[in-house]
Symmetry: C2
């Protein structure tokens, strides 16, 4: 019967009041409705104080814009694109994403200056339409199996390629391929192969990953051709820019690119292409802030191979001290090696190279996979990719808060790769409730026909954040993406100023609607 | 760069060591692999210390039984009945539940003395087979619509019933109905109507609830006939007993039962039937511990109606001071009134009547529905029904721990009623990780053709608890169900002793396999 005292003491601690009420034995129910109302209000205030609702007040203009946004948010919640069965056989996810594009809320969010994408992969950025465009380039060959039905690989070459694909297949020129199967059919077929839809066909996370990886493999030969690599990256920046993104930290496996004669280039050339295209893009888009590269090779390797990674990364750092943001290991965590296998080599990484580890991209609990979260934190990671399993590790979550590590949340990716089949149960809601710093990102938007970042903001805002969350949440997500970036403090300051100008302009536009 | 110090300080606090390491500025990465290994081990130990892994060691016999159980757990995890798509169109949930019945793990869990069911509803306990049996009782009539296709209601009566069902329909005797449609067809049809499968047909939580409620309505006239009510309850206890359940706290709306001549009985008679059948059952099943009733009328009422509830409940308490466990309000939270609307009358409930509120049975966040959790706690609830949304309310969750309130987790119910479409994302994993007390329950097993409790234990053990959780978890769940029951301390002691005898016998059986 000391409930009453327990609650009051707890609440005064949470509110960081020094005063400790006298310990008394009293039931919570021994209360007037008025006193009850006061306790209730206090508890809800304490609850909300750790979440984004504690952000500074909005300006008058922002309040006006907020009204427009909240009105549209309600419209969308009514539509219910967040129901668990969106993405089922009846209403494939690709169709839902397309319908969402037509909504007023999406259009508002698309124009909103969202800051940076801090979690995205090198060859999964551009729209499928652009990939189709690339297949019309000169000297492109395609390799097929199953009596010419199934495309396995691409390759640019003057003569018929002699390079071997992942499996036995027959090379023919794209012209022949198009003639044989009909141009319209080819476009239709490739559009299907370039994305993972319909999602409903996956029986499990593993099945989804298998299809997911097959797209990476298929498009490798198309994108690793040096001139295309350059164009693809530049085009990706253009698509990001059009989607209201001002900054990028791109995870790249840093492949060796190839030339028309089959010669392979050194990985330093790959980096140099990124750098020069970034500069070229910034020159012609003064409102764009910057881009950086996280060197992120595959985790399905022997721990010894990691030593080679470290050498390469150190070389990148030497030549590109600020353009290289840091290091990560990529690939399906549940199949690859856990981080703890790589601890010894990773501890040898020079301290000025930051880690941005993928960790806990799983819905498992109590395995070496979700325990990657422990290693990511103990290895001093600056951010965590996905961190989906963090809610099952409250101590690590507490540490993450104390160390101010941000979690890169990718809502649509987690849905498509079958970690969770609806947004209302996404663990990021619990992260928000606990005041864990998060950023919203898109992972591989190309492969699920999503906008570079807007769909992820849409789902985070409607399906993950509290229903009552508003413009303050959106603003926090945008500013977090700069705050938790790899930029220097000085560059961050400049970035914020650049972003603020665009934000103010956007607020004006929305408020006047 | 004071990361190292932050982590060490945090860990020593968690371990409740008084010693505070000297504050030093040092990167986590400035570490030898050996020192890293020690920190890692310590952190994982701290993590696991709050969960069920901190339970006392197992006896030698229990360790032997544990080996058998863990071997079967691995077999089941391989089978993957926990995949998000189990329960999809290809493999309907009812089929999955049936397949699980055939596994060795299920059979082990079924015989395991699981303690009590603390969350179940009055007319949703018995198997469909038993409901079919009841439809062969004398003087039963059925009311149909849609040209005699759709059954709407049942009624026992000598003459054709004159009572009105929920909608316009035609009464005919069960004999006529069976003759008209063919006996086999009728059985097949009714089996389908008595359960919610196939689950895949629901588009949303709301659609699932609609079908769910329609079963309650359909079977009302069949079960509210006083002699059937008595038999149904007694048979439910038999089914529970056969499923390894020793105790029950049943939530009942306490309907007025009817007699063959249409006369209605007072609700005190309903309670008296429960009491006398419980005593009769205990007399013939000495290993059964006890059963109690939670008076749980509907929440879709005006707050004023709650005053009537309190009067009725007070009368129950007076006549059945220990058989009445307490009070709750039931029905779909998302459509019914929030608890806060009832605060004024509820604060008038006599203090010796305990609350066992449903709260947070939703995957929404930041609404008056998930905030029911705040009110349940502030109203001094002894347990919380479902509490699904608690992981989005960390402060309330902390309070729940401090007040030692247990959450009644019903895995299969949450799945079928579409709160979450896979077990790996069930919020109870986060409750376990945070050391929140939980009990496993089954809600309405009749409506999804599940065993009274074993399926829920199966899913909690395989899909929700950590992969490495073992017999200690199962033992904790069983003992929790007695510890958090409404029994007096003295009765709990006796209950534990009775349970322990059965537990030891079961351990012997398993260890000898």
């Amino acid at each position: 019967m000391r409930q009453w005292w327990t609650v009051v003491r707890y609440m005064s601690r949470c509110a960081q009041k020094k005063y400790e009420p006298v310990s008394i034995s009293r039931s919570l129910r021994d209360n007037t409705p008025e006193a009850y109302g006061i306790m209730r209000e206090a508890l809800i205030k304490i609850e909300r104080s750790t979440t984004v609702d504690s952000m500074p007040m909005l300006t008058e203009k922002e309040l006006a814009a907020n009204e427009v946004i909240m009105r549209e948010k309600e419209v969308e919640l009514e539509h219910g694109y967040l129901e668990p069965t969106s993405g089922s056989a009846d209403q494939p996810m690709s169709k839902v994403l397309n319908t969402i594009r037509g909504t007023l809320l999406f259009q508002l969010l698309q124009k909103m200056p969202k800051g940076g994408i801090l979690h995205a992969h090198d060859t999964a950025l551009c729209s499928s339409a652009y990939l189709i465009e690339l297949t019309y380039r000169e000297n492109l060959w395609i390799c097929t199996t199953d009596e010419g039905c199934k495309a396995i690989a691409f390759r640019f070459s003057i003569e018929k390629p002699t390079v071997k694909a992942m499996e036995e297949c027959n090379w023919e020129s794209m012209e022949e391929f198009r003639e044989r199967r009909g141009e319209k059919n080819v476009v239709k077929y490739l559009l299907r192969r370039f994305s993972m839809f319909p999602v409903s066909s996956y029986e499990s996370n593993n099945a989804a990953w298998k299809d997911f990886m097959s797209i990476f493999i298929l498009i490798d030969g198309l994108l690793l051709y040096a001139p295309v690599w350059r164009d693809y990256y530049y085009h990706a920046l253009e698509e990001l820019h059009a989607d209201g993104v001002q900054y990028l930290e791109l995870r790249s496996v840093m492949p060796n690119l190839y030339c028309i004669d089959g010669e392979q280039l050194d990985v330093m050339e790959t980096m140099e292409i990124y750098r020069s295209e970034t500069e070229r893009f910034k020159a012609s888009h003064p409102d764009f802030i910057d881009a950086k590269i996280i060197y992120a090779p595959l985790r399905i390797v022997e721990p010894k191979a990691c030593e080679e990674y470290i050498k390469t990364c150190t070389a990148f750092k030497k030549k590109y001290p600020t353009f290289l943001a840091g290091f990560d290991l990529v690939g399906q965590e549940e199949l690859g090696r856990p981080l703890k296998d790589f601890v010894e080599p990773l501890l040898k990484m020079p301290l000025d190279i930051n880690f941005f580890f993928h960790a806990g991209e799983t819905n498992w609990y109590g395995t070496s996979i979700d325990e990657n979260l422990v290693d990511a934190v103990l290895l001093g990671t600056k951010r965590i990719g996905h961190g989906y399993a963090i809610v099952k590790h409250p101590f690590v979550m507490d540490l993450i808060k104390q160390l101010d590590i941000a979690i890169e949340v990718c809502p649509v990716s987690n849905f498509v790769l079958q970690l969770g089949l609806d947004y209302f149960n996404h663990p990021a809601a619990t992260m928000i409730a606990n005041g864990v710093p998060i950023v919203i990102s898109s992972d591989d938007p190309s492969f699920w026909l999503a906008a570079p970042l807007t769909h992820d903001f849409y789902y985070a805002f409607l399906g993950i954040a509290p229903f009552h969350s508003d413009l303050r949440f959106l603003k926090q997500m945008a500013t977090n993406s700069l705050r938790y970036s790899a930029m220097s403090d000085e560059d961050k300051q400049k970035a914020f100023e650049k972003w603020q100008g665009q934000w103010d302009k956007w607020i004006d536009d929305v408020a006047n609607k």
